[in-house]
């Protein structure tokens, strides 16, 4: 039953990570690639590679029939979806299962259930995991006032039928809710033909904290938490393990809640439960579960020594978890920064250059996960993530110092990267103190804290 021939249906740095982990387990690796990705590092490292379609993702990395066909023709017995692309598609997981292959992740049913906001919230509540206090399903305008009184202001008003940010309003008190709820209802009716509302407590300026879990379908463990509050346009840019803002008791309760939910859904593979943390109230609320490996998984690996990618491959091949909760120990502090091919001084304009020189950051406690090589033309067709610089040290303060050293010793010529942003952040007093939240970075950028001189001096 153990996986012998693993097909990697992804690209970029995570494909490199999966290929290396699988090869270390003695597994034959088959790397999928688009026509634009023939030169990528994972193609060179894998035992074999196969083209799955044209440059555009919808024709290649998102093309389920093409990927299944390629996996079958190369005699793969399992498919690793990485993150993004098809990693959280129940249709893909189901197609893989139906083709008689192993999907390296949870079952299609679990992906479907946890990918549905309402079903995920219900599963969380049933497992005793705190969720943001809100209305029980859809309500009308008059009920909104009663519910708001119960859950406490400020409240967020959403269209019950909506998705994304449409129709979301925040009311700070009853008077505002009386004005805003009818507006939200009218807008919901116009947009979705359904005026049903949903309200929940608005957590202003929360921190983003998440818990890494591993499950084998029978039991589950956690590998502690990460804090990812530094975000721009809802994209994480800087991630840490652990979250220094938590006291031990809160951390213990948070991690225990994540394990309870993972066990309740018989979770298999690596997964992450995301929470909002209200620092003033010392309360955490489950918001969603990501049923895949995440970009920021290395910070957890650095502090626990657990190889999350290897473990997910093993448990999905049918093995039991190779560790118990007691065996997972945490030491020191780790930080990851995302290096993107963007010009941080020009409103993060994409910059898909040719890598002319590459000097990797090295040293004790420094890790660089990437897919670059000298002479490599960064393709313009995919997202801008080039790699991640990860550091591990005894304390958070020492980790930030190490991050600065690593970024200053690194050289990536021929393209712009977001390294100057991370150097500026590392020298910011608030970042040094760990005093930030999810709404912190954008105003900081708008206030001009990242200027050419500061970036150079940092």
């Amino acid at each position: 039953m153990a996986i012998q021939r693993l097909f990697i249906a992804n690209r970029g740095e995570i494909a490199v990570r999966v290929v290396k982990a699988a090869k270390a387990l003695g597994i034959h690796t088959i790397q999928a690639h688009s026509e634009a990705d023939t030169e990528m590092l994972a193609v060179k490292l894998a035992d074999e590679a196969i083209c799955v379609g044209p440059a555009q993702s919808k024709d290649s990395y998102l093309n389920i029939p093409a990927i299944l066909e390629a996996a079958k023709s190369t005699k793969a017995d399992a498919i690793h979806p990485g993150y993004g692309f098809l990693s959280e598609s129940p249709a893909f997981a189901r197609a893989v299962e139906e083709a008689g292959l192993i999907f390296v992740g949870p079952s299609a049913d679990t992906i479907e259930r946890m990918g549905d906001k309402v079903a995920a919230r219900q599963a969380a509540e049933a497992a005793g995991v705190p969720v943001v206090p809100g209305s029980d399903g859809r309500i009308d305008v008059s009920e909104a006032l009663t519910v708001a009184e119960k859950i406490g202001y400020p409240v967020m008003i959403k269209a019950a039928a909506g998705g994304g940010g449409r129709g979301i309003r925040i009311a700070k008190n009853e008077a505002e809710l009386k004005t805003l709820a009818p507006q939200a209802k009218a807008e919901a009716e116009a947009a979705f033909g359904d005026g049903g509302l949903y309200i929940e407590r608005a957590i202003l300026s929360p921190r983003h904290i998440e818990v890494q879990i591993l499950g084998d379908g029978e039991t589950a463990v956690h590998c502690y938490e990460r804090e990812c509050s530094l975000q721009r346009r809802r994209q994480k840019v800087w991630e840490e393990a652990g979250a220094m803002c938590l006291d031990d008791e809160t951390r213990e309760n948070l991690c225990a809640s994540a394990v309870a939910l993972a066990k309740a859904v018989n979770y298999r593979g690596a997964g992450t439960l995301e929470y909002l943390y209200d620092e003033a109230a010392n309360e955490f609320y489950f918001i969603e579960m990501n049923t895949r490996i995440q970009v920021e998984h290395p910070v957890t690996e650095m502090v626990t020594g657990v190889d999350l990618v290897a473990e997910m491959i093993k448990v999905c091949g049918g093995a039991a978890l190779s560790m118990t909760q007691d065996e997972i120990k945490k030491t020191g502090h780790a930080i990851e920064v995302r290096l993107c091919a963007e010009d941080p001084f020009l409103n993060f304009m994409p910059w898909p250059g040719v890598v002319s020189t590459l000097k990797e950051p090295t040293g004790d406690g420094v890790r660089f996960d990437h897919f670059l090589s000298e002479g490599y033309q960064i393709p313009p067709f995919y997202d801008s993530l080039l790699g991640k610089v990860i550091v591990h040290a005894e304390s958070r303060e020492a980790a930030i110092d190490k991050l600065v050293e690593a970024l200053e010793s690194m050289e990536i010529g021929g393209t712009k990267t977001t390294a100057p942003l991370h150097l500026a952040l590392a020298s910011d007093p608030e970042v040094r103190k760990g005093a930030f939240h999810t709404q912190w970075l954008e105003p900081w950028l708008e206030a001009g804290n990242l200027s050419a001189t500061k970036g150079d001096a940092a």
Binding site: Q56, P350, P380, F381, Y382
Partner: protein, 77 residues
């Protein structure tokens, strides 16, 4: 006669969205700064504008096609 070149590598689009007509049709007047297309680069859309005036002759590459930086996207008369 002059060329409008792609400022960046990426995917070139003739239209603001799939349901809408192209930015320019043959025979249209083009002023400096007029948008003639979009380049999708790393999931970001960047406007392609004319840096000289003229009459639109036509697109040189198909809609939704990968292009390199400097590729001729359209011609003006």
């Amino acid at each position: 006669m002059s060329d409008i070149q792609s400022p960046l590598p990426g995917t070139f689009y003739h239209k603001p969205s799939p349901e809408e007509p192209p930015f320019k049709a043959p025979g249209d007047a083009v002023a400096v700064g007029d948008q003639i297309g979009l380049i999708e680069v790393m999931k970001t859309f960047i406007a392609v504008t004319a840096d000289i005036a003229g009459t639109f002759k036509g697109y040189n590459v198909d809609d939704a096609t990968p292009v390199t930086a400097g590729a001729v996207l359209a011609e003006l008369d």
